[in-house]
């Protein structure tokens, strides 16, 4: 009860601090002194503190199961394990917005702390732009999604957290993803400030690079966590479904990746300034767009918490205000030092980066169209269509071939101007890749030409980066590791796609089923009770030709709060393949519907994303913080 009050008033105080900060910042802007008014940093710290207090009081209400708080009532239950009581805090609309605010205020505070060497006016403008976003979110939270609504009479019990969200990977997925999403806000504010001050330069690139990296690392990991969760919790046996909700997290990632590469060019050549600014704006806009689409109920998914139109309209208007503001700043202040771009020599590292950026923009547009086209069509003609994986595969996969090729060659070219030297080694690697691919593909009856090309370039990137890692001094290790990770990602996705096999059948206890070289044996079932669910555990044995036995124990859970039946897959992971089994009840029958899949190289998909993140982290520590 008390925590509720404290949380609510802290939020209001936090909002007031925004206005105070803006006033002081504007006054300080025209003062001659070179240093930033020290009060500003103190005030941002206080604002952050209030948001933290508010956030913790919500956590406290969740821990204490204080059902006089509406958010707690709607999303928690006394029998939930403590871990899920806490993660329930951000597993709902109101709490997740509070998390947005927390990250927004945290980042601006850290930014001010770490940007002492930057010009004062630029820092103040960044603060002002960031405060506009913060004020928008404060108003959004306070007017439409207050996490501290009071309920009377106080219910004895809460409604519970959606069972499929009761999962460790998903408990940390939102905070990680938000660090990436909201981290893009500081890039957005800073690049707008830099445009307004005509400060897009090599120095600025060096300074902003670490923020881009932080955001990129967290976004990559956040997407991966969501994907891991979908893999074992949704029970469909895939890791990426081109679901609109996944797409809206992939889009900012694509534009952020392009931005990262543009910054690398800007750092050395003071060019591609328009790219940098537009991509900074795009990244944050796409993050906001994602929030809008997911939270407004335009897309139906596990992330849609409430279909309150007032919320949707608020975010929509706020989103467009930000877009218009940023484009306005861009069109008015941006002076393109054009001509510079045309100076690119055709064979240079920046040219290859530019080419691949265009490819990334193409991928981005494919995903964007696939995501919003159904919505637009629905509104215009009320025709409902859904865009499935084949659309994305057809449009993206062929263009991965040149993309991967440039990724492999680019880093081996020099900045500004490179010569075609006699680099036999690269040529040899290319030949090896083709031969290797040919031998692998030969035994598979698939689209041979296409897969040979795609696999060859993927292997080519794999071997060139591997050679680099093994032989060269580690001066560009971050880039090499990240590119190596990416080649591994593509390779494991391809092999996973080609070699996966699956069977769906109805089985009863004691039955055996032959599947290829393996035999599935349904041993027995067992009932178990937990505080938040009851479950039926089945015991399966998978035996292969050599007699190796793998035991799998999938579950059917009946959660009590709220009532819901979920199927928990059981997965045995080895370096070479995952064995995945999931079952469903068949109504009024002794049979269970069993789905068994063997998925090669699954674990390498996660490992390669970790490598991507590792590359980013190394780059982060190498930049002067």
């Amino acid at each position: 009860m008390l925590a509720n009050q404290i949380g609510y008033y802290s939020l209001i105080l936090g909002l007031l601090f925004s206005f105070l900060l803006c006033t002081i910042a504007i006054q300080d802007f025209n003062k001659v002194n070179k240093k930033l008014n020290a009060n500003i940093i103190i005030l941002t710290f206080l604002q952050l503190t209030f948001v933290i207090v508010s956030f913790f009081s919500l956590i406290l209400s969740f821990i204490n199961s204080d059902f006089s708080n509406e958010t707690v009532f709607n999303n928690s239950h006394t029998t939930k394990p403590l871990f899920y009581k806490i993660s329930g805090t951000w597993g709902n609309h109101e709490g997740s917005l509070l998390l947005w605010l927390l990250v927004l205020t945290l980042f601006i505070f850290l930014f001010l702390l770490k940007s002492n060497s930057q010009p004062k006016k630029y820092r103040i403008l960044t603060l002002l732009f960031q405060q506009i976003i913060i004020i928008g979110f404060f108003l959004f939270v306070l007017t439409t999604s207050n996490p501290f609504n009071y309920l009377f009479p106080i219910p004895k019990e809460g409604l519970g957290l959606n069972p499929i969200l009761q999962d460790p990977a998903l408990a940390i997925h939102p905070p990680i993803l938000y660090l990436g999403y909201v981290g893009a806000s500081i890039i957005f504010s800073a690049s707008l400030a830099a445009v307004a001050q005509n400060y897009i330069s090599k120095e600025w690139a060096q300074h902003i690079k670490k923020w881009v990296l932080i955001s990129w690392i967290f976004l990559s990991l956040g997407i991966m966590l969501g994907s891991i969760w979908a893999y074992y919790e949704l029970g469909w046996g895939g890791f990426w479904f081109w679901d609109p909700v996944e797409n809206v997290s992939l889009m900012p990632w694509l534009s952020l990746t392009a931005l990262l590469h543009c910054i690398a060019v800007l750092e050395r050549r003071a060019t591609l300034t328009s790219w940098v600014v537009v991509l900074s704006i795009t990244t944050f806009t796409l993050s906001m767009c994602g929030t809008f689409l997911v939270r407004s109920g335009l897309l139906n998914s596990v992330h849609t918490f409430a279909n309150d139109p007032a919320r949707g309209i608020f975010i929509l208007i706020f989103l467009f205000v930000l877009i218009i503001l940023s484009l306005g700043v861009f069109f008015i202040f941006h002076k393109d030092n054009n001509g510079n771009q045309n100076n690119f020599f055709w064979l240079s590292r920046e040219t290859s980066i530019l080419i691949n950026n265009w490819f990334m923009m193409y991928f981005l547009s494919v995903v964007l169209i696939g995501t919003v086209y159904p919505i637009f069509l629905d509104v215009i003609s009320s025709e409902k269509i859904s865009v499935g994986p084949p659309f994305y595969h057809k449009l993206i996969a062929p263009f991965l071939i040149p993309f991967l090729l440039f990724m492999a060659l680019g880093p081996r070219l020099k900045w500004i101007k490179s010569k075609i030297e006699k680099k036999y080694s690269i040529f040899i690697i290319f030949i090896i890749s083709i031969i290797l691919t040919f031998f692998i593909i030969k035994n598979l009856t698939t689209n041979i030409l296409f897969y040979t090309l795609l696999l060859s370039v993927a292997f080519f990137l794999f071997f060139t980066t591997l050679k680099e890692l093994l032989t060269k001094k580690l001066n560009n290790s971050s880039q090499t590791i990240a590119h190596f990770g990416f080649s591994l990602l593509i390779l494991s996705i391809l092999f996973n796609g080609i070699l996966s096999s699956e069977v769906i059948t109805n089985m009863k206890i004691g039955e055996k089923f032959k599947f290829g070289k393996e035999e599935i044996f349904f041993k027995k079932i067992e009932e178990r009770r937990e505080s938040n669910f009851n479950s039926i555990v089945a015991f399966f044995e998978i035996k292969d030709l050599e007699g190796n036995v793998v035991e799998l124990e999938p579950e059917i859970r009946v959660y009590n709060q709220p009532l819901m039946v979920t199927s928990e897959a059981d997965i045995k992971t080895t370096l070479l393949e995952d064995k995945f089994i999931v079952m469903n009840l068949v109504k009024g029958n002794e049979y269970f519907n069993v789905r068994y899949q063997s998925k090669p190289f699954m674990v390498w998909i996660w490992i390669s994303v970790f490598l991507l993140g590792l590359g980013g982290t190394i780059a982060l520590f190498k930049t002067r913080i």
């Binding site: 409604l159 335009l298 139109p309 309209i313 929509l316 919505i375 629905d378 009946v558 009590n560 709220p562």
Partner: protein, 173 residues
């Protein structure tokens, strides 16, 4: 000149997007199963709230009339909100209300009924909540409309409002 054209195009595209998204918001696609996909009511046995006798689903839905199955609990706040509307629905003679008392204690539920009135022609006990699952419920309260052919033709997630009541009245005409 080139810049002006860029600004103009951006402006047009943005306003287009805004209008479409705004319109999209106004017809939010809240999930209501299509009426064309009619689901059979589940076959089950349940314990009657007052008589404590076990009754089968055939017995419960034996009359040739429309039924409403309402999942409720005394601890559920939104249930209190929708309760007067259920009382109002009960006045309609071409419909029978079945209450599914969800994970509740008898005394609390009894108190609730005594205080707010009993709109149900029959109340079933769903102590462990499995009956709700049979119906495909997500939580409390939830309301199902069942037609004369014993098919679920409409499902309301969350408390029903006046609009839902009007819709039900229209459908049973």
């Amino acid at each position: 000149m080139k810049k002006n054209i860029t600004i103009l195009i951006t402006g047009v595209v943005l306003s287009f997007c805004f209008i479409i998204l705004y319109k999209g918001l106004n017809n939010p696609n809240t999930y209501v199963p299509k009426t064309s996909i009619k689901k059979d009511i589940p076959i089950f046995n349940a314990v009657d709230f007052f008589s404590r006798k076990t009754v089968s689903s055939d017995e419960i839905f034996k009359d040739n009339t429309y039924y409403i199955v309402n999942i409720w609990a005394s601890w559920c706040v939104p249930c209190r909100v929708e309760h007067p509307l259920l009382m109002q629905l009960n006045e309609n003679h071409s419909i029978k209300l079945i209450g599914l008392n969800y994970r509740d204690s008898f005394n609390n539920a009894k108190k609730f009924i005594d205080e707010f009135g009993n709109p149900y022609s029959r109340i079933l006990i769903d102590k462990d909540g499995t009956l709700g699952v049979e119906f495909g419920a997500f939580g409390v309260p939830e309301t199902f409309l069942i037609d004369r052919n014993k098919k679920i033709i409409k499902k309301f997630i969350g408390p029903i409002d006046q609009e839902a009541v009007n819709k039900i009245k229209l459908m049973i005409k």
